[in-house]
């Protein structure tokens, strides 16, 4: 790799790796896994950054790669699991990462509510509501149509509110 190439990569890493890590932590729920997957994501970026064609924002492109890396990881996890109740999903009973716990009870409860939903709902909520990607960008990252993004976001929000209500009266405050 040339120096110019390395410097370009370093800039991309410095600017976006924390955001990619945050996205992966929300998706996987474990900081060690998120850090490993961030590494895997940027290894792919390192190899393929010259293929970035500028059709989308670079962060959208990075999250698309990160999402593929995370889905590969979840699939591997499922293959190694003998009993699974929900396809590819992570156990909702696992404790929230400490980085989320320190943000306060409401945020932690919201996170747990999201993690209890099925994976497609989790993904669309993380991208649309938390990371605030547009419908078009979300569709690009997930490989869905824009109308599917809209419908799924609306269903995911309804499911989230139902889940939060189910989880107790304290949650009423944040709905």
């Amino acid at each position: 790799m040339s120096d110019h190439y390395s410097i370009h990569f370093q800039k991309v890493y410095e600017e976006y790796s924390d955001k990619v890590y945050g996205y992966l932590l929300l998706l996987t729920g474990k900081k060690e896994v998120a850090e490993d997957l961030t590494q895997e994501t940027f290894l792919r970026v390192y190899k393929h950054i010259h293929q970035f064609n500028g059709e989308s924002q670079i962060f959208t492109w990075l999250v698309k790669i990160a999402r593929n890396v995370a889905i590969d990881h979840l699939r591997r996890g499922r293959r190694l699991r003998f009993f699974s109740l929900d396809k590819f999903s992570i156990e909702s009973c696992q404790p929230s990462p400490v980085e989320i716990i320190v943000k306060g009870e409401k945020t932690s409860l919201l996170y747990k509510g999201i993690k209890a939903l099925k994976l497609s709902y989790q993904e669309v909520l993380i991208l649309r509501k938390i990371k605030e990607f547009s419908i078009r960008e979300t569709a690009l990252i997930l490989g869905w149509s824009e109308s599917k993004v809209k419908i799924t976001t609306s269903r995911a929000m309804a499911a989230l509110k139902k889940e939060l209500k189910r989880r107790g009266e304290i949650i009423e405050e944040i709905i």
Binding site: Y13, L26, F42, L43, Y46
Partner: protein
């Protein structure tokens, strides 16, 4: 309408998640160092090996802990009783910044602001655990000067607000809520000091 806004706020608060600066550097260094081989088979094999090793280590540690609970060592001050074993909680992440004064604690909010270092490096956490959860307290510790505010986050209990200061190559830690001063083991003080110096250079407290 208000509730809907609050939900949006909670979504936004999940948008920014702190990340250890040290881990970020390590990951970057690994990426630029690795010349990736063809992975899939090796990767899965390595995962299996890692899981197996973790499983074996958990078994060994559980067996050891069980033995210690059933037959606690009676030799010397290091002997732990059952209550102490359960009372000790592991520190999972720490925040460090320069102190404004000996009395004021500077890490109440906005832990991701500039000047606050997030540390979850394994050896640092181990040293903090040993120092705080151990009983290595000192009576004639030097006065706190040019210290640091240290926030210790535990798994399963409230965080600890501490002051940390360095004097003549030794590192001292004091919980805000108690008078007792703990001293970092001499053999580890050097590493703690050099890590703080590195952070000062990188983050500029």
């Amino acid at each position: 309408m208000k509730k809907s806004f609050e939900l949006e706020d909670s979504f936004k608060s999940l948008s920014h998640i702190p990340r250890s600066e040290i881990q970020k550097r390590k990951t970057y260094n690994t990426i630029v160092r690795i010349e990736r081989p063809d992975r899939p088979v090796h990767y899965i094999a390595r995962n299996w090996t890692g899981s197996l090793l973790t499983f074996v280590m958990i078994l060994v540690c559980s067996a050891y802990l069980l033995t210690e609970i059933k037959n606690p060592s009676q030799e010397g001050a290091a002997a732990l009783n059952t209550a102490e074993i359960y009372a000790a909680s592991e520190i999972v992440i720490t925040y460090l910044t320069k102190s404004d004064s000996a009395d004021h604690f500077n890490l109440h909010a906005n832990l991701t602001r500039k000047g606050v270092s997030i540390i979850d490096e394994a050896s640092w956490l181990a040293t903090m655990n040993e120092t705080i959860n151990g009983r290595n307290s000192v009576k004639n510790a030097p006065d706190l000067e040019d210290g640091y505010d240290l926030l210790l986050i535990y798994e399963g209990r409230k965080p600890d607000k501490c002051k940390l200061w360095i004097s003549e190559g030794n590192v001292y830690i004091q919980r805000m809520k108690e008078q007792r001063v703990y001293k970092v083991e001499a053999s580890k003080a050097g590493k703690v000091i050099s890590m703080i110096e590195d952070m000062e250079k990188q983050i500029q407290f």
